[in-house]
C-alpha cells in the first residue's frame, strides 16, 4: 500500500492519536490487511509507539496482519446457528477448503472466518461468502455453494 494513500487516511482523521482505531480500520478496509510499512507510518505520523499499535492490531478481530484470500467465507457460529448445526457446516467447509478459521489457503482463494452473529437468525445455519448470505445450510448445500466460486 502506498505511503500517500496511508497519509490521506491519517489526514482525514486530523492525525489524532485518539482516532488510531478508526485510522487502522480505514487502512484495513482499503488494503484488506495491515502491512508492516503501513503500521510503521501510522506510528511515525501519530507519534504512537509501534508496540501499542501491534497490541491493537492483535487485540481486535477486524484487523489482519496477513493477506486475505479472494473470497471471504464467514460461517456464522452465533448461538442460534450453533443450535441449528453450524458446527457441521464449519466441518464441511474446513474439509472443502482445507483451511481452519482464521486461515487463508496458499492460492489466496479462500479466507475462512467464524463470526458470532450475522443477524439473520431465521435463516440459520448461515454461511456468508463475499457478503452474500447463504441461508438454511446443510453440509451438502454448503459444499455445493462453495463450488460456484472461482
Amino acid at each position: 500500500m502506498e505511503i500517500d494513500k496511508i497519509d490521506k487516511i491519517i489526514d482525514k482523521h486530523n492525525c489524532e492519536a485518539a482516532s488510531l482505531l478508526q485510522i487502522m480500520l480505514d487502512i484495513q478496509k482499503e488494503n484488506n490487511w495491515l502491512t508492516k510499512e503501513a503500521l510503521a507510518r501510522v506510528s511515525e505520523r501519530l507519534d504512537v509507539p509501534l508496540n501499542r499499535i501491534q497490541h491493537i492490531a492483535t487485540f481486535y478481530k477486524a484487523f489482519s496482519l496477513v493477506p486475505k484470500g479472494r473470497h471471504k467465507v464467514h460461517i456464522c457460529v452465533g448461538t442460534a446457528c450453533h443450535v441449528r448445526g453450524a458446527t457441521r457446516i464449519l466441518d464441511t467447509v474446513e474439509e472443502a477448503t482445507g483451511i481452519k478459521p482464521g486461515e487463508t489457503d496458499l492460492d489466496l482463494k479462500y479466507s475462512l472466518e467464524t463470526v458470532n452473529c450475522l443477524g439473520c437468525c431465521a435463516l440459520g445455519p448461515v454461511m456468508e461468502v463475499d457478503g452474500k448470505v447463504h441461508g438454511k445450510m446443510t453440509p451438502v448445500k454448503a459444499a455445493d455453494a462453495l463450488k460456484t466460486y472461482e
Binding site: G78, N116, L118, A122
Partner: protein, 644 residues
C-alpha cells in the same frame, strides 16, 4: 431545507410534510433489514420500483425500504399502507400481481398473506398476525413505517417532538426527574436505573461531560439494537440529545460495531440530516443548547460492550476494562463524567419525555418498567424480534408469539441474556420476564437474546459453546477470567468428547466460583452463568456424558454413531448418494450399511433418509450392532414374502 429554529417552526414543518402527503395514496413498505435482505428483499424493492415506474405510478405510489419489523421468519415482508396489508415471503415475481391487484384494484393477494397455523385463518393486516397480536410495540412500531434514510419520515410521525418539548417546555432538571421517575433501567445487560446514572454525572464537578450510545451489540443471537440503528436511527439520536441536555453534556458518541456497516451508514446520515435541520449543533431549536455527536466504529471485540472497555476503546486504545473504584458516570471517557446507555435505552427516552413517566410506569412489573425487545431465535417457529411489556411470561413469548417448537419436537430450555446469562428449564416457563425475576432464576435479562433449545440440543454443549465464545473474547487482563475460562473450556470439551472423568463437575464449580468472585469486569463475572445454570437444571446430562459416555440429546459428535436399521431400510440409496465421505455401502434392493470407520458423522444420511422409512438412527452410549450378514441383505418386498 432551511434550519428549524424554534419548536413552533418544527411543528409547522411537520404540518408541511404531512400536507404534501395524501394519506389515501398507497405506500409500499418493504423491510430492508438484514434478515429480509438475506432472503432477497433487495430484489423485491428493485422490482417494485421498476414496475411502478413502468406503469407510470411514480407520482401516486411511494416505495420505501424500511427498518426491520421483526418477523424475520417470513421475510421478505411487504406492508402496503394505508390499509396495512401485510404480505410475507414476497419474491420479485410476485410484484406485478401485487401492483395489479392490491394497488390498482384494492384486492388482497391471499396466497401471500400469513395463515395463522392454529386456525388456518388468513391474516390480511399486520395486526391480525398471531406473531404481532400479543406484542406491545412502542419502540419498534415505527420501523416499518419509516424510510430509514429519511428524516422527514421520522418528523412526520412526530419525531423530534420530544426534543422540542424538553428544550422548549422543560428545564434540564425536569427532564432528569422525569427519567428518574420513569424508573427506566438499562436495556444493555445489568439493568442499572438510567436516571440515577444520569444524576451522578450531572452532579459531578467536572464541567465537560459525555453521553455515549453503546451500540457494540456483541451477543451472538441478539439483533434488536441493529434493527433500531438501521431502521430508526433518529429515535436513538433524539434520545441521546435529550440525555445530553439533561446532564449538561455537549458531546455525544455512538460506538457502533464495525460488523454492522449499514447501521454506521444510517447513523452517520441521520446525524448529517439533523445538523442540516438545526436539530443538532449550536443553539438547537433556539434554546441555546449546543450538542455535537461523533460516530466511532468498534473493531470486533465482544469485551468492548463493557462500559469501561468501550471507553478505553473510544480513546483509541485496546479495549481492556478498567477497575471501577470510581464509576464511569463520574470518571469515564478521558476521566470525565460519562453516561453510557444501550441503544434501546436511548430509544425509550423520547417516549418517556413525550408521554410522561406515568405512562411508562403503567407498563411492566413492580421493578421493571416499560417494554423490552427480545430476539427470539433458535428452535422456534417464528424467529424474530419481539417487543412485549415487562412481566410477560416466557410461555407466552415462546408459544403465543413464537408459535412453539418446529417439527413437533419437545421444548427443553430457553437461554436468555447471552453469554453471561443462563438456561431456564420447562418448569419455570411461567416466569415473568423482568430484570430481577430472570436473575433470581439463575439467568439474566442481558440485552434480550432469547434462544430456544429443543430436545436435540445438548446442554453440556451449550455451556461449552458459551465458554468457548468467552475464552476467545476474554481480553486477558485478569487471571480468573483468562485462565479460568481456558480450563473450564478444556474440561467441558473433554466431557463432550467422552473424555470426562469423576471430579470434573466439582472442578468446574470451583473454577466458576473463582471467576465470579475475582474477575475484574462483567465478562468474567458473568462467564460462569451458562455453566452454573445448566449444572443446576441439567446435571443429569453432565453425569450421563461422564459416567456412561452417552449424550442424551444425541448431539455430541464424538459420542454418537449413525446406524441404519436393517429392518427399515428399503435400499432407496438416498443416503449412499449424498454421503460426502463415501461411507455407505449398498445397492438397489440391498440393505445399506454405514462403515463406522469412514463415517465423519456429518448427519447427512439422517437428514436425507425419507421420513416414511426413517431407517437412519443415532445411537449413543451403546455399541453399534454388528453389520447384517451379506446373505441377508437382499430386500424382499413384504407382499411377495407373504405370497411365498
Amino acid at each position: 431545507m432551511a434550519r428549524v429554529n424554534t419548536p413552533e417552526e418544527l411543528n409547522t414543518f411537520r404540518q408541511e410534510i404531512l400536507s404534501k402527503r395524501d394519506p389515501n395514496n398507497p405506500v409500499v413498505s418493504i423491510c430492508a433489514g438484514a434478515g429480509c435482505v438475506a432472503s432477497g428483499a433487495d430484489e423485491v424493492i428493485k422490482a417494485f420500483e421498476e414496475e411502478i415506474e413502468k406503469q407510470g405510478l411514480g407520482a401516486k405510489v411511494d416505495t420505501k425500504g424500511t427498518g426491520c419489523p421483526g418477523f424475520c421468519e417470513q421475510g421478505p415482508i411487504v406492508v402496503i399502507y394505508p390499509e396495512e396489508i401485510c404480505y410475507i415471503q414476497v419474491k420479485a415475481e410476485d410484484v406485478p400481481e401485487i401492483i395489479e391487484k392490491t394497488i390498482l384494484n384494492n384486492e388482497v393477494v391471499e396466497r401471500l398473506c400469513f395463515k395463522n397455523p392454529g386456525t388456518g385463518e388468513v391474516a390480511i393486516h399486520e395486526s391480525d398476525i398471531s406473531f404481532y397480536k400479543a406484542q406491545q410495540r412502542t419502540v419498534l412500531c415505527n420501523n416499518i413505517k419509516i424510510d430509514s434514510k429519511s428524516i422527514d419520515d421520522y418528523i412526520a410521525l412526530g419525531g423530534y417532538s420530544a426534543l422540542a418539548k424538553a428544550l422548549g417546555e422543560m428545564s434540564d432538571v425536569d427532564v432528569l426527574e422525569e427519567v428518574k421517575k420513569s424508573n427506566l433501567r438499562g436495556r444493555g445487560g445489568a439493568g442499572f436505573p438510567a436516571g440515577r446514572k444520569w444524576e451522578g454525572s450531572r452532579n459531578a464537578p467536572e464541567p465537560i461531560k459525555y453521553v455515549i450510545v453503546n451500540a457494540d451489540e456483541g451477543d451472538p443471537g441478539a439483533f434488536m439494537d441493529r434493527a433500531l440503528l438501521e431502521g430508526n436511527p433518529h429515535s436513538i439520536l433524539e434520545g441521546l440529545i435529550i440525555g445530553g441536555y439533561a446532564i449538561a453534556s455537549h458531546e455525544g458518541y455512538f460506538y457502533v460495531r464495525q460488523e454492522y456497516p449499514l447501521a454506521v451508514i444510517n447513523i452517520n446520515l441521520a446525524i448529517k440530516q439533523a445538523q442540516e435541520y438545526g436539530l443538532l449543533g449550536e443553539n438547537i431549536l433556539g434554546s441555546g443548547f449546543d450538542f455535537k455527536v461523533y460516530v466511532h466504529q468498534g473493531a470486533g471485540a465482544f469485551v468492548c460492550g463493557e462500559s469501561t472497555a468501550l471507553m478505553t476503546s473510544l480513546e483509541g486504545r485496546a479495549g481492556e476494562p478498567r477497575p471501577k473504584y470510581t464509576r464511569s458516570n463520574i470518571k469515564g471517557l478521558w476521566n470525565r463524567p460519562s453516561v453510557l446507555n444501550n441503544v434501546e435505552t436511548w430509544a425509550n427516552v423520547p417516549l418517556i419525555v413525550n408521554k410522561g413517566a406515568d405512562w411508562f410506569t403503567s407498563i411492566g412489573t413492580e421493578s421493571s418498567k416499560g417494554t423490552k425487545i427480545f430476539s427470539l431465535v433458535g428452535k422456534i417457529n417464528n424467529t424474530g424480534l419481539v417487543e412485549v411489556p415487562m412481566g410477560t411470561t416466557l410461555h407466552d413469548i415462546i408459544y403465543n408469539i413464537g408459535g412453539g417448537i418446529p417439527d413437533g419436537k419437545k421444548f427443553k430450555a430457553v437461554q436468555t441474556g447471552g453469554p453471561s446469562g443462563g438456561c431456564i428449564p420447562e418448569d419455570l416457563l411461567n416466569l415473568e420476564v423482568g430484570f430481577d425475576e430472570l436473575t433470581k432464576a439463575g439467568s439474566m435479562m442481558g440485552s434480550g437474546g432469547m434462544i430456544v433449545l429443543d430436545e436435540d440440543t445438548c446442554m453440556v454443549d451449550v455451556a461449552r459453546y458459551f465458554i468457548e465464545f468467552l475464552t476467545d473474547e476474554s481480553c486477558g487482563k485478569c487471571v480468573p477470567c483468562r485462565e479460568g475460562l481456558r480450563q473450564m473450556h478444556r474440561i467441558l470439551t473433554n466431557i463432550t468428547k467422552g473424555k470426562g472423568k469423576q471430579g470434573d463437575i466439582e472442578t468446574l464449580e470451583e473454577l466458576a466460583e473463582t471467576a465470579v468472585e475475582a474477575s475484574l469486569c462483567a465478562l468474567g463475572k458473568g462467564a460462569a452463568a451458562p455453566l452454573l445454570s445448566t449444572l443446576k437444571y441439567f446435571r443429569d446430562e453432565y453425569e450421563a456424558h461422564i459416567n456412561e459416555k452417552r449424550c442424551p440429546a444425541l448431539a455430541c459428535k464424538e459420542l454418537i454413531s449413525f446406524y441404519i436399521d436393517p429392518d427399515k431400510c428399503q435400499g432407496c440409496g438416498m443416503c449412499r448418494k449424498q454421503c460426502p465421505a463415501d461411507a455407505i455401502d449398498g445397492d438397489k434392493k440391498l440393505i445399506h450399511i454405514i462403515d463406522q470407520d469412514k463415517c465423519t458423522k456429518c448427519g447427512t444420511c439422517f437428514e436425507v433418509c425419507p421420513s416414511k422409512f426413517s431407517s437412519v438412527t443415532k445411537l449413543s452410549g451403546v455399541p453399534v450392532p454388528e453389520a447384517i450378514a451379506e446373505d441377508k441383505r437382499t430386500i424382499v418386498k413384504k407382499a411377495k414374502a407373504k405370497g411365498k
